[in-house]
Symmetry: C2
Subunit: 168 residues, 2 copies
């Protein structure tokens, strides 16, 4: 997978931080310490998170100084503008995930444990674009969340049902 023409290689040419700095420069915005801390923490690992979780993980990272809540929110907004993060509303609050150097995917949301499970489907994208064409709607993206109960939680529920029956 060292093909220079592979999408992955092109998209990941710059690190998230480099890509972000590039964006900031083109917009006349500034590369500050808080912003650097935030980007580093955000891309330390791939995971979904909200503003609170991000604040918390920055706060408890050893050596990294904390960042105020407004600054976190403001930085997240810029990161979305920059195309580094994707934002989605989930049960009241905003949840963010990587949108840079990470393959297109959608989510299943477990209504029992609140977990987000990623999956990929080329078909979705195809249908999405076809629908847009039919309605003369310029598609820029989509949000698909499949609701239900994940495998683990289904097992737990089955156990509970079993327990109940045992007691009768």
């Amino acid at each position: 997978m060292t093909d220079d023409f592979s999408l992955g290689a092109v998209e990941t040419a710059l690190s998230p931080l480099e890509r972000f700095e590039e964006y900031l420069q083109t917009k006349g915005k500034r590369i500050t310490q808080p912003r650097r801390r935030i980007v580093e923490e955000v891309f330390r690992q791939h995971d979904h998170f909200d503003a609170d979780q991000l604040m918390a993980s920055i706060a408890k990272s050893p050596g990294i100084e904390k960042v105020s809540r407004p600054t976190v929110y403001r930085a997240l907004e810029v990161l979305v503008e920059a195309g580094l993060l994707r934002k989605m509303g989930l049960g009241g609050r905003a949840v963010y995930e990587h949108d840079y150097g990470y393959p297109q995917h959608d989510h299943m949301h477990c209504q029992a444990c609140n977990q987000l499970i990623e999956f990929h489907s080329d078909d979705i994208q195809r249908i999405r674009d076809a629908v847009g064409r039919q309605h003369q709607f310029r598609v820029t993206g989509h949000l698909l969340i499949i609701n239900g109960v994940c495998r683990d939680c289904m097992r737990k529920q089955q156990r509970q049902r079993g327990d109940r029956l045992d007691r009768i």
Copy 2:
């Protein structure tokens, strides 16, 4: 289309209000004036709305007394439980739409005028269920919103670009 076995005929056998009253009875809940007003206003026409808009439209309906905000929220919750309404988070606030006697559909959301445009696709449902099966995820529903710019807003944007050029 007077086929007794058609889904449409079966699903729409009861009016929304009747269906709601039925639900309330089975749950030992009560059929009150505020609830009746809310259901009537909600199903007066098919449209997406939020709690505020509903409050407002009830308030300005002649002859219909206003309903308090908490009551509106509480009634909407029950209507969702009852399967009469579907709730979706959109840009911070909750938006509701008919889910009774109304065919399955998804939405395109125009980021310019904030309008929701409905569309239908059997494929989406098929893919959704297939994905669930693959991941041993029990699917209960989904939310699909295609983001972009609607036809009308695209025209407006083109006009503006044209104007700008004219001035040069």
